[in-house]
């Protein structure tokens, strides 16, 4: 896991290269040291041999001297003295050489000193012996002693020399061992180090390779992304741009050119060239906002117009935001959208709204006509009729009286229709404000309005306590008035009307009828009666305008009352449902949202 993580991390390659670099430097150093060691070892061997040669030389000179001396002693010929004299000189030369060669070895120096004194003694002894020989005193015991002494010295010198040679040989042996171990160990170490470096380098290579692969993939993705961005710019009618404020350089996306009605890349990407397309009336506004953008580096939404070469005027909306890229360069990234369609739609909508407003005004004017101008002639007809009935009653024939009565009925009905229609059209949501209202009071007032009929029909109305609700008070009062009025109007002829008003709170999810409910909880007020009822199949139809279930000779009515109820309940985002059973009664349920 950890290895994987290290391998994946971006600094892995760098670390590998640093490690490899050090390894190579180390290898080079080690190789250099090894070669230096090798040449040193060689030097040492040569050195040892030189020392040994010189030591042997000394012995041989001494022997030469000894031989010369003996020749002289035997022959008394001074010719034999020559090697003896030269021998001494040569020994001194060798000694100087040895002294130099063993300058790094204190033990050998000490030995050399001892050797030197021994050789001096030996040479002195030789000289003494020669002197004895020159004076022909060789038969003396003294001479024999000296001779003997010389032999002893020689033995000591030989021992010393052997000892010294053995020391040098030991040294040589030791150095040889060192060299061999060096020579054995170093290549293995170097070889494994090189192998390790190679492995590391390979890992780094693999890593670089995989990084390259990833980069390639990312590049491909970027390419795809760029293409899809291009497509989305085309489909959404927007273009993007970048502005390096410091260098004052621009980049326009392909579609930005198209937004200006141009082919991509058809002109140099500069603010001046862009401004050439801007509507003359908008140039100043846009320029000042561009300047502002330079300072604030954040562009608010700007809307301006551009004119295409074809003469089309398009509305563009732009937004920009300053960003700092990975190289620390501040640039503004912006998006420009063609909102001509939106503006067109908005204008169309605005026009429709105005038309609608006009329609509403016309409707209001119609309301006024209906309320005033239509009522006026009708009222006069009715007044004249009342005068006729009052004053000319006796002058009419039977059929004349009947006609007057019929005219009267027709006029009354027309008044009812006009009044109801007016009420219906006034029951608009308009700007009526919902306010907390005492529903019990509204219900009471509604009953008050119907007091005469209630008494006349001998009706019993039972109510319960209903909580406060947020409603348009006069509309709710009218709703109650219409529903109670309906119950009274459609009462059964054989029994006194009983109207029961009840209340409860319901969850929208618990009531099948509230499947389209927008709220969770509803107030439910039900008004049930024992009147003539209706067939359940008409339960929905009765709320539509001018819909009547009965002949107007049986029950007077305009078919507007329940439509008004429905409209009022709609205004309150509520529901009204009817349930009927012929000759048993009707139940009206009002649902008002609990807000």
């Amino acid at each position: 896991m950890i290895i994987k993580r290290i391998y994946k991390s971006s600094w892995f390659v760098k670390v590998v290269f640093v490690v490899s670099l050090f390894a190579i430097i180390f290898i080079a150093g080690l190789g250099y040291k090894h070669i230096t060691n090798l040449s040193k070892s060689t030097e040492m061997v040569i050195h040892t041999y030189k020392v040994n040669v010189e030591l042997e030389q000394i012995l041989s000179y001494l022997k030469d001297s000894e031989t010369g001396q003996r020749g002289y002693i035997i022959t008394q010929d001074s010719l034999y003295l020559k090697p003896f004299i030269e021998g001494r000189k040569k020994v001194n030369n060798s000694f100087a050489e040895l002294k130099y060669l063993t300058s790094d070895n204190p033990e050998q120096q000490k030995n050399l000193k001892e050797l030197s004194s021994l050789i001096d003694k030996r040479l002195d002894n030789l000289e003494i012996a020669s002197n004895y020989a020159a004076n022909d005193q060789t038969d003396l015991t003294r001479f024999k002693d000296v001779f003997q002494e010389g032999k002893n010295y020689m033995g000591a010198i030989r021992n010393k020399l052997n000892y010294m040679i053995s020391i040098e040989n030991d040294l040589l042996k030791k150095r040889k061992e060192e060299y061999v171990s060096d020579a054995r160990f170093t290549p293995v170490f170097l070889y494994s180090l090189i192998l390790l470096t190679l492995v590391l380098m390979y890992a780094a290579y693999a890593k670089i390779n995989s990084n390259l692969e990833k980069l390639k993939k990312s590049n491909q993705q970027l390419e795809i992304f760029k293409e899809s961005t291009n497509q989305s710019e085309i489909i959404n009618k927007h273009g993007s741009w970048r502005w390096n404020v410091e260098e004052d350089s621009f980049y326009f996306s392909d579609n930005l050119f198209r937004l200006l009605g141009e082919e991509p890349g058809s002109f140099a990407q500069t603010i001046e060239n862009f401004m050439k397309f801007v509507h003359p009336e908008d140039v100043e506004k846009l320029s000042s906002q561009v300047d502002e953008m330079k300072e604030n580096k954040d562009l608010p939404f700007i809307v301006y117009r551009v004119i295409h070469k074809s003469g089309d005027t398009r509305y563009l909306k732009a937004y920009g935001k300053s960003t700092v890229n990975s190289e620390g360069i501040t640039q503004l990234l912006g998006t420009t959208t063609d909102i001509t369609d939106e503006i067109d739609h908005y204008n169309t909508l605005e026009k429709r709204n105005q038309e609608l407003e006009l329609n509403n005004k016309e409707l209001q004017a119609f309301n006024y006509v209906a309320s005033h101008d239509l009522q006026e002639p009708l009222r006069k007809i009715q007044t004249f009729l009342s005068r006729l009935e009052d004053r000319e009653q006796d002058n009419f024939s039977e059929s004349g009286k009947k006609y007057v009565e019929r005219i009267n009925n027709a006029a009354s009905r027309m008044r009812l229709l006009i009044d109801d229609l007016l009420q219906y059209s006034r029951t608009n949501k308009s700007d009526e404000i919902l306010k907390n209202s005492d529903i019990n009071k509204l219900l009471e007032d509604a009953q008050q309005d119907l007091a005469e009929v209630i008494v006349a029909k001998n009706a019993t109305i039972t109510t319960v306590k209903i909580p406060e609700m947020k409603v348009i008070p006069f509309q709710i009062q009218q709703l109650f008035g219409n529903l109670i009025g309906n119950s009274l109007k459609y009462s059964a002829k054989d029994r006194n009307p009983i109207i029961a008003i009840s209340y409860d709170k319901v969850e929208a999810s618990d009531d099948q009828q509230l499947s389209k409910a927008l709220y969770d909880e509803y107030h439910r007020i039900t008004i049930s009666d024992n009147g003539i009822g209706f067939e359940q199949e008409y339960a929905e139809k009765i709320f539509t305008l001018f819909n009547r279930l009965h002949n107007k000779d049986e029950y007077s009515g305009t078919g507007i009352g329940l439509s008004i109820c429905k409209k009022i309940v709609d205004n309150h985002s509520g529901f009204i449902f009817a349930k009927g059973e012929p000759n048993i009664g009707a139940v009206f349920s009002i649902y008002l949202p609990l807000v």
């Binding site: 309320s371 005033h372 009222r379």
Partner: protein, 148 residues
């Protein structure tokens, strides 16, 4: 100045309504003197004469050509000379808006023209016999519209 009869003026552009109005008073046999004007301009021309005999009760139709009842009401209420004149609005419509506006402007009562002559007589006799001194003190929006 004669004070044994009530002086009543009606301004209404509708000939039939003026006729119903005078006929009603004729049949009521009250001690009233009824004068009618055909629109607001005629009415104000008369009232603005210095020697004009001011009515006790002025019935104003709202919807009249040249000068509407609302304009007359405004002018009358701005002139302290007419402060004792009881103003009854006498209109076909009884829209909330009209009732509200005339109440605010200072009219004393709002009558919706009835469609039954018997009712008209009853309404007019009611208005004439009302003690306006007393009624005006207790005037509020609820009893402003005359209901019978």
């Amino acid at each position: 100045m004669a004070t044994d009869y009530t002086h009543i003026i009606l301004a209404d552009d509708d000939e039939d309504d003026r006729m119903f109005f005078t006929d009603a008073f004729d049949e009521l046999k009250m001690t009233v003197k009824v004068t009618t004007y055909n629109d607001g301009v005629y009415l104000m021309d008369y009232l603005n004469q210095e020697d004009a005999i001011l009515p006790n009760i002025l019935f104003l139709d709202l919807n009249m050509p040249r000068k509407s009842g609302m304009e007359c009401l405004k002018e009358i209420k701005e002139n302290s000379r007419f402060k004792d004149v009881v103003i009854a609005i006498y209109s076909t419509s009884a829209s909330e808006e009209d009732i509200e506006n005339t109440f605010i402007k200072g009219a004393n009562i709002y009558i919706k023209k009835p469609s039954d002559f018997k009712v008209l007589k009853k309404v007019l006799s009611n208005v004439v016999t009302t003690n306006w001194q007393y009624h005006t003190n207790g005037l509020n929006k609820d009893n402003f519209l005359l209901r019978l």
